[in-house]
Homo-oligomer: 215 residues x 2
């Protein structure tokens, strides 16, 4: 297999790319990078030679290593345009990218493993404080996301009538919210869209629990 | 003026969009949103009606409000393609977006004002701890960015021979690094590219110190 995805079953950034690949029907070999084992395999010499950013996912496609989940998804969209993950119209594309970035920039980076490690290690915060920190940024981001989705009249997808880059950010983020016991009652639109998307093969088949490295 | 940019002089996300607009020669009216005054004008009822995310920047273009800095820049690139802010080739575009996201996802969200407010307020951390937190994420991100730029052979621009989305993320981030006294000696490539870019009108004329709301 020429295409390899360096992934960790529970990484939401990796899951975004797994969904994009599955949705576009692109085969790949999954190479598990365990973010906790061996002090974090993403910090191994071998992996850093491949991806100096020391994060997952990374995609090897045609002999080239690509990094950053949304940059990889935009690359896949340009290289394999059908089925599309961005609407055809300018405004729709801007809406999709804005919602994707609301999740990928405003929520997810604050809940990253290395941030929780810094809070608990360097700053000596308790597990409970770290968990509440995690929930705080999800609640803040979801409050804005919920309003945006209501304004857009979204019911089954974030934008329009098909899967977009925003959807493949939403489902992994809701998975994280459930994992950290965020009460989803305040976000009925997010929950409804998540429920619909989760029934689609590209989402269900790439779920963390279905990965070879799942624990 | 039909085009309005809701901006704060010191916001690096707003500065990215100011650079994109200037580089493309697009006029706009700057509407200052003070992130600290009045408990944060981005949380005012009027602004939240415009942008439920309660953040800057937001761009009003053709009667439509667009949010999230990189989504706005991609919109500007699609709507006003010349001069380009993305390379023509697939791989170059992926490289540019990856470097932009390294800054916009891995560094900047952790240093956002609301995160520092949470650290000092809710978690009761000192100003010194918050400042060190700020520097920590810049140092970690810049170490990876420096390696990426060296690998790409970048000297005057992040990617290729012209300004891209990666450059308009880099300069505001280096400005923040200087502001928080990060020692740039370890990042000679970033510093060299920043020095070159900072001499270009689209960057120098949009500098925080040149804004009407500068303090």
């Amino acid at each position: 297999m020429d295409r390899k995805l360096y992934t960790y079953f529970r990484s939401s950034a990796a899951w975004r790319v797994r969904i994009a690949l599955a949705y576009k029907g692109l085969d790949y070999e999954a190479v598990p990078i365990h973010l906790l084992r061996d002090g974090g395999q993403q910090r191994s010499t071998d992996y850093l030679a491949l991806n100096p950013q020391g994060r997952v996912p990374a995609l090897l496609d045609d002999g080239v290593v690509l990094t950053q989940s949304l940059a990889i998804c935009e690359y896949l969209e340009e290289r394999y345009p059908t089925p599309a993950l961005l609407p055809a119209d300018l405004l729709g594309r801007a809406r999709v990218r804005s919602l994707a970035q609301l999740i990928a920039c405003d929520i997810h980076p604050l809940n990253n493993l290395i941030v929780l490690q810094y809070l608990k290690g360097t700053l000596g915060q308790s597990q409970e404080t770290a968990d509440e920190w995690y929930r705080h940024w999800i609640r803040q981001g979801f409050a804005a996301l919920e309003q945006e989705l209501v304004r857009l009249g979204s019911e089954r997808y974030c934008v329009g009538d098909s899967v977009t880059l925003a959807d493949l950010c939403l489902v992994p983020q809701v998975f994280n919210a459930h994992r950290f016991k965020v009460d989803m009652a305040s976000y009925p639109r997010i929950a409804a869209i998540d429920a619909h998307l989760s029934s689609l093969p590209a989402f269900s088949q790439t779920h963390p629990s279905k990965q070879a490295d799942a624990e």
